[in-house]
Every structure is written in C-alpha cells, then in structure tokens.
C-alpha cells in the first residue's frame, strides 16, 4: 500500500536518520559486546589470574575450548542440561498460556469496573524484587509448616507430579522439577499477561457481535474469531516470556540447587564467575544463542510481516 508516495516524496532520508542514533547505540553497545563473547570463547586465559583474555582477530582463534564443550553438549553431561532447560521453558510457556490467557481474556473483555484494580493487581508483583518473591516461596514451600507445602501435600500433589514425570513423589518440594517450573512461571507470567491483554483489548468487539449475529456459538466464536485474532499477541507474549527464561539461573539456585534440575544458565554462571575457564562459559552462551536464533528468526519474520501489513 503506497503511503503518500504518489503525492509527495516520502522523506526516506529523514526516517533513516532517525534510526541512526538508536542503531548506532545498539551496534556499539550490543553487537560489539556480543562479538566479545566470541572473542572470549575462542580466546585464552590469564595463567595467573585465570581471567579471560579475549582474542579479537578471528584468525588467531583457538577452538580447543569450543571442541571440548561442544562434545560435552552433544554426548556428555551437558546434553541433559540443554534438554532439560528447553523442556522446562516449554512446559513453563504452556503453563503461562494456560493461566495467562484466561486472565488476559477476562481483563480485556469482561472486567468492566474492576479492570483498573485487577490490572494493578496483575502488575503489582512486577514491582517487587524477583528475589524477594522467590524467597517468599522458600517460606511457603518449607517442609516444616510452609502453607503451600502443607496444602500441596494434603492434596496428594506429589503423586500427581511424579506420574507426570515432573517430581520425585516426595513431600519435600525443594529440588523437584515442578518447583523450578512453578518458579519460572511465577516470575515470568506478568511478561506474558500484559502484552497479551493489550492485544486482546484491541480486538474489535464488533467482530464478535457479527459472529454471534451470524449464529455462531460462544465456543465457535472463540475458536474461529478471537483465537486467530489473538495469535500475534500470543506470539509476542511467548517470545518476551520464553527467551529470557533460557538464561535464568537464580530460580533454580533459590528453589532447588539439585543436580536434577540444573539449567544451562547455572552452568554458564559456574564457568564465567566461579572458575578459571571463562571461555567454557562463553562457548555455552554461543551455543545457546545459536539454538535460540531459530526461535528469534521466527519471531522477527512474523513481527515485520504484521507491521508491514498494518501499515
């Protein structure tokens, strides 16, 4: 769709110049640091301090660390960690959707006068430090009298999660996969609900009325009108929620610390901050980013397509 291109010259130069400061900033402070990660992954280590010595020239890159870590990922101990991380994020995302979509939908369509209060309640945890909230869960899940632990055990939840493969059936919740997943969902779900709410809010109510007028049932309207219209919102919410989760390490540290729930973020943290092999941590970051690139590309394609068609 031509935008004023016939009537007067669209000042492309002006728009291009608008993007310069931001893009320049990102190149200087994002792309170059990202290159630094590669320079460390393929670089050396100070023999005295054990700190990273990046090699900026690709021709001098040393691939030993990369080979070691890569083989550990492909058929060593780190493979489990990657698989586990991806499955935790996947399950967490499904849960975020299962809980978040109804909440966002209700907020968008039905909340009426309570909308302001509800939205404030949904946003409130966003403002309390993530760590403080996790420590509150440590209190709630304490095997000796924590409310959540008592309630869950009374409901025989451990057996349920064991059957799903997400727990060990024990009454101690720390260290079980479902606990870490719950922690991830708890921490990141506001990032899911807010963009989804905004997208659902912009769905024109007249479409729904039209469907109703044409004789569709509530369920059919939802499946054929609302859900398809909310796909871009679901996608944006998913990406904004899931991608940070891949690098998360503190949820596992606070709620677990068990080797059975180790995530890739923990290994990255171990190598970068607590070892004299930071290049191993950098290699893990590169591998993780490469895997996420696939997801990122999908998101970028859909985003740009949607924006072009809206404009």
């Amino acid at each position: 769709m031509a935008r004023g291109e016939g009537s007067r010259a669209d000042p492309q130069g002006l728009w291009a110049s608008f993007t310069l400061p931001g893009t320049g900033w990102l190149i200087a402070l994002f792309l170059i640091p990202f290159y630094a990660i590669a320079a460390i992954a393929f670089g050396g280590v100070d023999p005295i301090f054990g700190s990273a010595l990046p090699r900026w020239n690709p021709l001098t890159w040393n691939f030993t660390a990369f080979n070691d870590v890569f083989s550990e990922v492909v058929n060593g101990s780190l493979r489990n960690v990657f698989v586990r991380t991806f499955s935790y994020v996947g399950i967490s995302l499904v849960l975020c959707f299962a809980i978040g979509y109804p909440v966002a939908y209700y907020l968008a369509r039905y909340a009426g006068r309570t909308k302001g209060i509800l939205l404030a309640c949904v946003v409130l945890p966003f403002w309390m430090s993530y760590l403080m909230r996790m420590l509150a869960w440590v209190n709630l899940l304490n095997p000796e009298g924590g409310w959540a632990a008592d309630a869950l055990n009374a409901l025989h939840a451990p057996r349920l999660f064991e059957a799903l493969g997400l727990g060990n059936g024990g009454e101690v919740w720390f260290g079980q996969p479902i606990t870490v997943i719950m922690g991830l969902v708890y921490g990141y779900i506001p990032f899911f609900i807010l963009p989804l709410y905004a997208a659902l809010d912009r769905i024109d109510g007249r479409y729904l009325e039209a469907a109703r007028d044409l004789g569709a049932s509530a369920k059919a309207t939802f499946l054929n009108v609302t859900l398809p219209l909310s796909v871009p919102g679901i996608l944006a919410a998913s990406v904004i929620t899931a991608l940070p989760m891949f690098g998360d390490y503190y949820t596992n540290t606070i709620l677990s610390g068990s080797p059975g729930t180790e995530m890739i973020g923990n290994q990255i943290e171990l190598y970068i901050t607590r070892s004299r092999q930071p290049q191993n941590g950098a290699v893990l970051v590169l591998i993780l980013s490469a895997l996420l690139l696939v997801l990122m590309s999908y998101y970028l394609v859909i985003t740009t397509r949607a924006q072009r068609s809206a404009e």
């Binding site: 670089g43 050396g44 280590v45 100070d46 023999p47 005295i48 301090f49 054990g50 700190s51 010595l53 040393n62 030993t64 660390a65 060593g76 101990s77 780190l78 489990n80 960690v81 586990r84 440590v138 304490n142 095997p143 000796e144 009298g145 060990n168 024990g170 009454e171 101690v172 720390f174 260290g175 540290t253 677990s256 610390g257 068990s258 080797p259 059975g260 729930t261 180790e262 923990n266 290994q267 171990l270 190598y271 901050t273 607590r274 070892s275 004299r276 092999q277 290049q279």
Partner: protein, 410 residues
C-alpha cells in the same frame, strides 16, 4: 596491552616476574602443570608460589612498600571489601565512633568479584576482609597487596600460635588472620541421633537414603569433591590425580542419587528451618543458625559433627597496594584482633576469631556457644592437624571445576 600499561612498565613487570619465578618457594611441578593455558597473553608458565602445609612459603617481596611506621591513622572513609554481613554492624559502628571515621563496605560474593575489584585501576579500596589462601598467590604476584607493618598491630600477639607464622605466609608479611573454621556435618539432633556420629567416619551418614530429600552438600567444587575423598579415607585435598578426582566425582554422584541432595551454602538457614536434616557445612554455620530458628524451635536441635582431622581453613585481612588509608586499615585489623572486640564481632558473624583469647571456655561461658555445639569451636590442635584447601595450578584447578560441572549437571 589491553589494560593500558606503558611499554616501560611492561618490561619492568616482566623482569620482576622472572625474579619472582626464581624466588618462589614451591612451584608445583609434580602434578603435571603446564605453561600453556590456551596461549594466554600473560606470563609463560606457572610462576605463582603454591604453598602447602608441608611446604611453607615465604612470600616474595613484590615491590610494593609497606606503610612507614609512626604515623597517625588517616581521616576519611575507610573503603573495605568484604563478604555480606561478615562484620557485626555494631562492631563497625563502635570502630567508626572510636576512630572518627566511616566504613564503606563493598560486598563481593565470589573470589572472582574480589579479584576483579582489586585489579580495576579505577577503583581504590583500603582493606580486604575474608581473603583466602586460594587468592593469596595471585594477590602477591599481581602486585595487588602491600606488606603489613607489624608496628601498627600490637594485638597480633593474640593470634593463635599455629597461625602466627602460617605456612602460606611465613613471617606473616602480608596477612593477619580473621576467622578460622572447619568443615563438618550440620544436622538436626531431633531427627538424627547424636550416637550415629560416634565414629570418625560418620561422613557416610550423608549417603544414607533415610535422609532422602533432606540432605545437602556445600556448593563449592573443592568442598564437594573433598567430601567424596574423605568418604574413602583419602586426604590429599590438593590433588591433581585424575583417578582420585574421578572416584570422588562418582561418590558424590552416588550421594545425590541416594538422597536427592541439594547444593547450597545455606545450612545456617535450612537446618534450623527444617528443610534440611543433614548438611555438609562449615563450623560457623551452626553458630549463626541459632539466629535463624523459627519461633518455638529450640537451639537444642542444632548439631555439628567433625572428625578428628578435617578440612580447616582461615581467612585473613590483606591491605591493597593502592590503599589510601593504610594506617587506618591497620587500625581496623588491630581493633578486630583485640579479644573483647573479636568476641563481640563473633556474636554476629558466628565464625570463630583466630585468636588465643577469647578462649573456647570464654565463649562457652559467655553462652555464645551452647554445650551441644562445642564441636563448632576450633582449637589450636584442630588447626595443627587439619587438611587445607590451597591454591592449585591452573590445569589442576580446571580438573576440579570440570568434575564439579559434571556433578551438577545431573
């Protein structure tokens, strides 16, 4: 060079390193250390003096001068690098009042953070607390610390006899001890009977499946792997032998499989709260644990066991080379070497000061240590007999880190 030193400084520094290489007391060669670290741009080969109990090291002069004697303590803010909550806020306040100064504490939570803070030329710190033997060689060779001037430390005579001239710093040129501690097992006396800990090999209790879901191991590569070693009666805590490390790795993995053990340094919180019943821990943890008991739970439930010979460690003070208030820094060290102040500090920190006074009896009499937790106290004998976790050569340390990574990967 990336950190911007001039050509002249580079030449001088290389020359000094070569001299240090010649002077260093013990260069670990037997365990297959190599100079190549992936072709790093620093020195060529290990020139760090690696001290061991049976191989004491006199740290070399690193070219930094100690502060001159006879001066008044400087005024202004004393910038201290310390762990979180590792000094009693009231002790801090008392020192500030006495010296008319303010303490600004920058917290670090890993050695790496400490090291990067000290190496950062744009930052200046006046005193470091909580440094350990693992970092000491780097500090000296990296010219990050200055020698102490004992004239400012009259209370130094109060230090434990075994630590007056420790193996890692013969003559106490650079360090003054802060606290001393052992590694043992913290447990709930109401869940596990004291009698179970009667023998010296009670480490095996951590492997007991009866404690499934309630067991813990220290989140530290050295401590976790030495636990595996002690289980087998192996005591070479600074080994580079892959066979020993592999066996320890397998044993810890077995521990995890048997008990679903979790890795953290929170025994001081989990044991009193009841989310852990048996946890590899440091002696100071159970003293501190008294402050984390829930309402209605008595300190009687806290227990600590250590064998007759176990890992012993002490940390210490060092003064950064670029300290702007070295005399004031010495004053704080001296303040904390005083028996009364040390005892008061102990009330909050929970880790025993490495001093002859207050004596173990003093601490018990002051009711700072309940009778059933006497095992948390560290005696001169413990220090003399203990095993140490010392600095390792780069490739050896990497063996330990990789083993720990595999343990944690599940």
């Amino acid at each position: 060079m990336a950190n911007g030193i001039s050509r002249r400084q580079f030449v001088e520094r290389s020359a000094r390193l070569a001299v240090l290489a010649g002077l260093s007391g013990s260069i670990l060669s037997a365990c297959g250390s190599s100079g190549d670290s992936g072709g790093g741009g620093g020195g060529s080969g290990d020139t760090i003096p690696l001290a061991r109990l049976d191989n004491p090291v006199t740290l070399p002069d690193n070219g930094i001068e100690a502060v001159a004697s006879g001066q008044e303590p400087e005024s202004g803010t004393l910038r201290v690098l310390n762990y979180a909550d590792y000094i009693n806020p009231e002790t801090q306040a008392a020192f500030e009042a006495e010296m008319g100064t303010t303490l600004e504490i920058t917290v670090y939570d890993t050695e790496d953070k400490l090291l990067s803070n000290l190496r950062n030329d744009s930052l200046t710190f006046d005193l470091v607390m909580g440094a350990t033997t693992l970092q000491l060689p780097k500090f000296v060779v990296g010219e990050l610390i200055q020698p102490l001037n004992q004239e400012y430390l009259p209370n130094f005579s109060n230090v434990l006899a075994t630590l007056q001239s420790p193996y890692y710093d013969v003559g106490s040129k650079y360090t003054a001890p802060y606290v001393v501690y052992t590694t043992g097992i913290a447990y709930r006396r109401d869940k596990i009977d004291d009698a179970a800990f009667a023998s010296d090999d009670a480490w095996k209790l951590l492997w007991d499946p009866a404690n499934k879901g309630f067991a813990g191991v220290l989140d530290d590569s050295r401590e976790a792997l030495t636990l595996g070693m002690y289980y087998r009666g192996v005591t070479d805590t600074n080994t580079g032998d892959p066979a020993i490390l592999d066996a320890a790795e397998a044993d810890i993995k077995a521990l995890v499989a048997a008990t679903d053990a979790r890795f953290d340094i929170l025994a001081w919180q989990q044991i009193p709260e009841g989310s852990s019943h048996i946890h590899q821990a440091w002696s100071g943890d159970m003293i501190a644990a008294q402050y984390y008991l829930p309402e209605g739970t008595d300190a009687e439930v806290l227990g600590y066991w250590k064998p007759s010979r176990t890992t012993v460690a002490n940390d210490f003070f060092v003064i950064p080379a670029r300290s702007e208030r070295p005399v004031l820094a010495h004053a704080l060290i001296n303040y904390l070497l005083d028996p009364a102040n040390a005892q008061f500090n102990f009330e909050f920190v929970g880790y025993q000061p490495a001093l002859t006074s207050p004596t173990l009896d003093d601490l018990i009499a002051a009711e700072l240590v309940p009778p059933h937790l006497q095992s948390t106290l560290v005696s001169d004998e413990d220090v003399a007999n203990g095993f140490r976790l010392d600095a390792l050569a780069l490739d050896v340390e990497n063996l330990w880190t990789d083993a720990y990574s595999r343990i944690r990967s599940g």
